[in-house]
Amino acid sequence: MAETLLDIRDLKIGATVIPPGEDPQDITIVHGVSFTLEKGRVLGLIGESGAGKSTIGLSPLGYGRGGVRITGGEVILNGRDILKAGPGGLRRIRGREVAYVAQSAAAAFNPAQKLMEQVIETTLRHKLASRAEAEARAKRLFARLGLPKPETFGDRYPHQVSGGQLQRAMTAMALCPEPDLIIFDEPTTALDVTTQIDVLAAIKEAIRDTGVAALYITHDLAVVAQVSDEIMVLRQGRMVEHGTTDQIINAPREEYTRALVSVRSIEHEEKAPSGAPVLDVTGITASYAGSVKVLKDVSVSIEPGHTLAVVGESGSGKSTLARVITGLLPPEAGAITFDGRTLSPALPQRSRDDLRELQMIYQMADTAMNPRQTVRTIIGRPLEFYFGLRGKAKEARIRELLEQIEMGDGFIDRYPAELSGGQKQRVCIARALAAKPKLIICDEVTSALDPLVADGILKLLLELQAKEKVAYLFITHDIATVRAIADEIAVMYRGELVRYGPKSKVLAPPFDAYTELLLSSVPEMHLGWLEEAISRRRMASSGN
């Protein structure tokens, strides 16, 4: 029996929130959660937003963000309750016994100080080693985490290195004082998928080599399955299930866990070619304010009722393509043909029918709806604007649309703030559908949503497509979403189209180098995927 490092008993966490213009209210975030962690083990905390995973993760540091505080229970670290440690005692624990790696390393580093100073600061302040010894330790860690030029890496300022490197530097900063426990709080969520895999592998190796214990917090089950020994599933501040990683992934007991494991497993049969394309984009080249070209000679087309998924990482130009098609950004070269007619490059010159038949759904449903308009106005305005519907006819159509997005008429007088994330996105879908479009551009419509909610939206979109024969241009960075919804796929990299064709062809070998990298970087929901992916990649690079 290994030694217990952390023992959390019946932890209750509350917060005081102040709604604008109202009196403060006390709410409970975590309703009594217990678990133990042995030395050298990694526990994954997983859940959707609002599950309380970050709040629980910060409890071994005795820390709560913005009005959050521990209201009950015990947090026993190395045999003593840290809730009774007092400010001085907490200071001795923080950094030295428990270290923290934040989601956004770019914000978590002091912009005015060199990286080395920050990495060795805890070690020096807690008098754990001399400066020379600490610097040597930091350089060894830089090397172990695969940072470039470990000897001089620490001389740089945070803004001088990339996001993936900063995330590794933050891991080095946590490891430097040789703590017993590290809290990883969504350390790879903000990274591109091809960067994520390397950082993930580096973190995993570092954990293994140093023998440090860790709490790994994430919303992505496939990611946590790669690094942790055990997983605890949380929902709305309560534990749903706690078991070994193998048990949670391969034999989940609870309904909710099963749903999480099987998420993103929607399969969609590729549709057969259906004739003349509804949208045909040829030779598009575009740039912002005449500077660097963000799109270089891109040509794609979409058939009626089909879905073209445009995949790429940040900076690939996929969202710019959407702006060009909608007319918000007139291209420097190239032509757009829509339903057999040539579209004007600029928005103001397009006819009302052009606008009606080409609708758009945004990533952030929050900002895509006017907060001062009710659902009735939001969905009703296109009806009024394009079809001149008024009064009863309009009302009936609004209700019909609400029905289609699986929401009742009870929502008709609500404001966006009174809807959940998924409901907001559904209303945006209804607004697009209200125009009876031939094509809807979906810009990362599911990436701001929790996985289960995102699944619901994807299913809805597929159903609506079958019913209304509408085509989708689906912009995303997420391969799972692509598999779920696409008929054709366009892979973009730095403004260029690197691979394009039917889903079955694009996702089948032989691959070009970038698509290979992209596909092999997407975490899969089985144990050992990370090792396989990394070794495949190493073989590929050493073999050639």
Partner: protein, 274 residues
Amino acid sequence: MNWRRIPASAWLGLVLTFAFIFVAVFAPWVAPYGLNETVTDVWAPPSAEYWLGGDNLGRDLLSRMIYGARTTMLIAALASALAFLSGSVLGFLAAVAGGWLDQGLSRLVDLIMAIPSLILALVVLSVVPADVGTLILVMGLVESTRVFRLARAVAVDIGVMDFVEASRLRGEGTRWIIFREILPNALSPLVAEFGLRFIFAVLFLSSLSFLGLGVQPPAADWGGMVRENKDGIVFGIGAALYPAGAIAVLAISVNLVADWILNRTTDLKGGRSG
């Protein structure tokens, strides 16, 4: 709107502000004596008959302050209304239209704001006569630069949001975009700003009158009354402090209301307020 949720400080501000407005509107009926009626001794001490005593010429100080409320608040209100109308219309227009119009207006405003407003007003008032019309015009134009910046910033912030882009993509015209999409979301900060501009105009006008460059005697305004009675201070006569205090109380009241409106405003993601 839920009246019970209005905090005490905002109530105080609202009640006092309305009291000032009431007194200003009904000055001839409220004031016990005439504006320029000499009724008592020079700097007579406060008494049951003359609540605040006499002024430097033996006129009833309270009555003059009541008439002064009218002058001060009317000029300030007109100046801020002018500032507000021109500033917000041009600010919105600059934000929505962009391009050279935005550039031109923004640089002009930068230029005007590079000169402290009091100094600019003094320079202009050294050549033009200080009548009421001029004062309103000068103060209104100087102030409109601040309103322009705020209105433009707010409109630009809202204008880049997806829901505005969505209405552009739908094909809506500039009018719908300004009045139905942007304005409802910009209203709270603008209303609060109107309050702040009004206070500023009151203070500004009072400073000018105090310097002898604003409202000219025999008309009464609070700043001018401070000037008339300031010589009494060194003799221990506090007559000048009453009009100065009135300015302060009015400014605090309006500030309390504006502060509440600003706090009440929820951010765009948080949804509606009230």
